[in-house]
């Protein structure tokens, strides 16, 4: 088997609460391999989103090791992490997190501009076309529906042709029709870019579309199941 693109070794995360440190993740060890699709499931507060954030270097592990594409995320600076994400990651959130002051195409082009890509806007337009939003390129987030905003977020995540796609409950704020469409697009994009996908979800049917489903309980991995 190839080297894992993501590897966590006894990674823990605790945050400061009013009554002292609160353990969010407890000694998680996990490998994710290239082009694999992994579903993270579990009850609310089990640590799924935090685990995803650790994988993307958006959160710093309190102890243990987090490796991505051969880089040790726990020893990297904030800026080095940003550059790594720019070149290799795409992230999709439940609340879309588009920049409200930028139009759809500007949001999608932002990571490409950061990477100094010459045809950033042509590529951004192509990505928006791919998610069915060619008519909405110059609209601001506030002028779009939730489903449309999430499609922009998907286009933005896919635009840099990432090696790893992280999706945090991408359909959590959407109705079932829009949700299904987003998931189709997400898996389609993953396929197109041959990317690894790690997705947090509450929906068992979505998780079932992944190669592997990991269930978290109280900050620990409870079970790991391969898809049927």
């Amino acid at each position: 088997m190839s080297n894992p693109v993501l590897s966590l070794q006894a990674a823990s995360l605790s945050l400061d609460g009013n009554a002292g440190p609160v353990s969010i993740l407890d000694a998680i060890s996990l490998d994710v391999h290239g082009q694999e699709t992994v579903g993270l499931v579990g009850p609310s507060g089990s640590g799924k989103s935090s685990l995803l954030m650790l994988m993307g270097g958006l959160e710093q592990a309190t102890s243990g090791k987090v490796m991505a594409l051969g880089h040790d995320l726990t020893t990297m600076s904030e800026d080095a992490l940003a550059r790594l994400r720019r070149d290799h990651f795409g992230v999709v959130f439940q609340s879309f997190h588009l920049i409200p002051t930028m139009t759809a195409i500007e949001n999608v082009a932002a990571p490409l501009e950061l990477a100094g890509v010459a045809d950033a806007y042509d590529r951004a337009e192509a990505e928006l076309r791919a998610v069915g939003l060619s008519e909405r390129v110059d609209h601001y987030p506030s002028q779009m529906s939730g489903g449309e905003q999430q499609r922009v977020a998907l286009a933005r995540a896919a635009a840099p042709r990432p090696d790893i796609l992280l999706a945090d409950e991408p359909t959590g704020n959407l109705d079932s029709v829009n949700g299904a469409a987003i998931i189709d697009l997400l898996f389609g994009l993953r396929e197109r870019h041959s990317a690894t996908l790690v997705m947090v979800t509450h929906a068992p049917d979505l998780a079932a579309r992944c190669d592997r489903v990991i269930t978290l309980t109280d900050g620990r991995i409870a079970t790991t199941e391969a898809a049927a």
């Binding site: 550059r83 994400r85 720019r86 070149d87 997190h97 920049i99 950061l114």
Partner: protein
Amino acid sequence: MSLRVAARFAARELRGGLKGFRVFLGCVILGVAAIAAVGTVRESISEGLSQEGARLLGGDAEIELTYRFATDEERAWIDNAAVESSEIVDFRSMATALDEAGEEVRGLTQVKSVDGAYPLVGEVELDPQMPLDAALSGADGLPGAVVHPLLLNRLELDVGDIMRLGTQDFVVMAALQSEPDNVTAGFALGPRTIVATDALANSGLLAPGTLFTTRYRLDLPTGTDLAATQAEAQAALEDSGLRWSDARNGAPGAAEFVDRLGAFLVLVGLSGLAVGGVGISAALRGYLAGKTEVIATLRTLGASQRVIFMTYFLQVGALAVLGILLGLLLGVGLPIALAPVIEARLPVPAVFSAYPRPMAEAALYSVLTVLIFTLWPLARARDVRAAALYRDALNQARAIPAPIFLVWTVVLLLALILAATFFSGTLWLTLWTAGGILGALFMLTLAAFAIRALSAFLRPRMRGRPALGWALAAIGGPGSTAAPVVLSLGLGLSVLAAVGQIDQNLRGAIERDLPDQAPSFFFVDIQKDQMHGFLARMEGDEGVTRIDQAPMLRGIITRINGEPAVDVAGNHWVLEGDRGVTYAAGQPDRETLTEGDWWSEDYTGEPLVSFSAEEGEEMGLKLGDQLTVNILGRDVTARVSSFRAVDFSTAGMGFILVMNEAALAGAPHTFLATVYSDQEAEAAIFNDVTKAYPNVTAVRVRDAIEQFSGLLAGLASATAWGAAITLLTGFLVLIGAAAADQRSRSYEAAILKTLGATRARILAGLTLRAGLLGAAAGSVALAAGVSGAWAVSRFIMETSFEVAWGPAIGVVFGGALISLLAGLGFALGPMSAKPARVLRSAD
């Protein structure tokens, strides 16, 4: 009923503390404090001038005569009316001394010669300490003089040395530390020397026709009705040309100056309040935006629009009252606490205390401003519907509120202008200021829209430059803070730019342009028999390019067509004091007639006068009018036979009144000469003339210009302080805008970090955004300031105008810098926050 419910809701909401209202409070406090402070200082000085009226005047009352001593009849009236009186003579002269090398050095001095009764009120302080009488009686057979330290220094004199005035030697007995009645002396070109009038008998300085002023100070019996005594004096000594002052207003010039400057500074302070208003409005909008859900919930539960409006109106009211009280405490407390420091710097007395008038003034302005700037946001909150629970309805509320609120806004604005007119006492200045502030606000609002539109237009054209692109997106995109930033920063900078430009232009006109056209010297009090020698000296000097000379008398216009002059021409400046009068046979070379004819050279008929055309028109004079001019205590009535165009702007010789030769030639008089020369020739001319003619006073124009420039600099710096407070309020508003915006910046920074932006790039974007907005505000402010300054220079000062680029560039850079400071201070948080936590808290 609804009011009680609203009051309960308001009280519950205020339980949460002042969070979200700090900028609101800060703006109210600063605005109130600035106006209350200026008002308190102004009132303190007025009170000081009023309490010390008799001391400042040097007696209970004063009769001033120009160019002559009182007649026996006048003396008799004074002696009869007063318990004690004192005679003072005031004139300019040259003081001469020998330096260490035995060379003569000369300096201009303002001489006050006094009798034994001076001072009737107060004390003259001398160093070394001694009674004035003893000092003036002199030593070693020579009369004594007390001299201001500035002149002692200029002439290298010490106590015990000899100095000369005219042809009389004096012993310097002491340095003059202070004179009780100095405030009334007005604008003096030379430092003061005090001598005894008797000692001047052989000085040649008070010969008939020389220029001097006599002041008769009267110590009146206790309980004298000053107004009645004034009327009595004016009736008894009618047409004597006397000017009356009394302790009711001991230093009228100073009081008027302080009043005018105070009124002007309060009006500048109003611009600070307007900036504060922008901040108040922005803070309230931000607060109410966060309350949309609460308002919508209350609406769902059945709260009427009135209850909603009153709930937040009462909160605003409570906070405004708190802000006004704190502002008054600061604005009144600070001048009182700093009283010793301020008094030490003031040339006039002041009684520092908490005066109700300035407090009422500041409070009234603030209440009206708060109402004007909060009405619209409150009206928008009132329009929030229950449906807002499901969408962002506050942002969808109509931009223009219901007509009743528009009517109220206009009513409140008119009330503010009326209040400012009442308190400042000047309708036009108030209207100009109000117009200026409203115009600047309108211009800045338009500019903010334009900047947003331009940013949105440029954004797609800046592809490939992410930091600049984000900055433009933030300025041009939704939720932009361009409007409050440009408005708050722009208004303060506009005032500062206008003050800077006016100051530079006026000083430029005086310092740069005037010396090119102005004469080098004015020589005053040249006797008729000295003129030949004087002219010979000048004509023989190659460095002299032009000499103008004219007989010089001074007179007061007392009547026009037999009516008291003030009844006909009001308070025109020509009537305010004595004016130079000359006579001529032929028409002056450099002046042209605009109306009427010049008299023939040998004309000897009824007295005729040629009047300055511009002033004549302002006073409503026409050909054939009879002017009565009191010269040396005698009335000369002359018919206006022509009007002349007189150019006073070059500081050369120019007379309002020119009479025919026969009308005045018999009156004792001296000559005035202006000499235009190369700068290199000036020293020799000064030495030769003052040495040969000790009675002649030489006024070097360059020195006078320097002194006047110093006075202007003082005025400009007082105004600049006023503008600085406006700018400080603007800075506070900026900080408020930056603080309110911090959450969205953190959010934006977290997303950009997720997408791969480094901290340096994010910081570059934030820096560019703040810098661009600041520079834009500065540029608009510059345009507004330059337009205002141009209007003031062109229409009020009547001087030419050119943009002073130094201060102009300073304003644009200053704007960018202030905006950067406010913006970057709040950028550190977003820079260091972990993206996951920021994004999670935004969910």
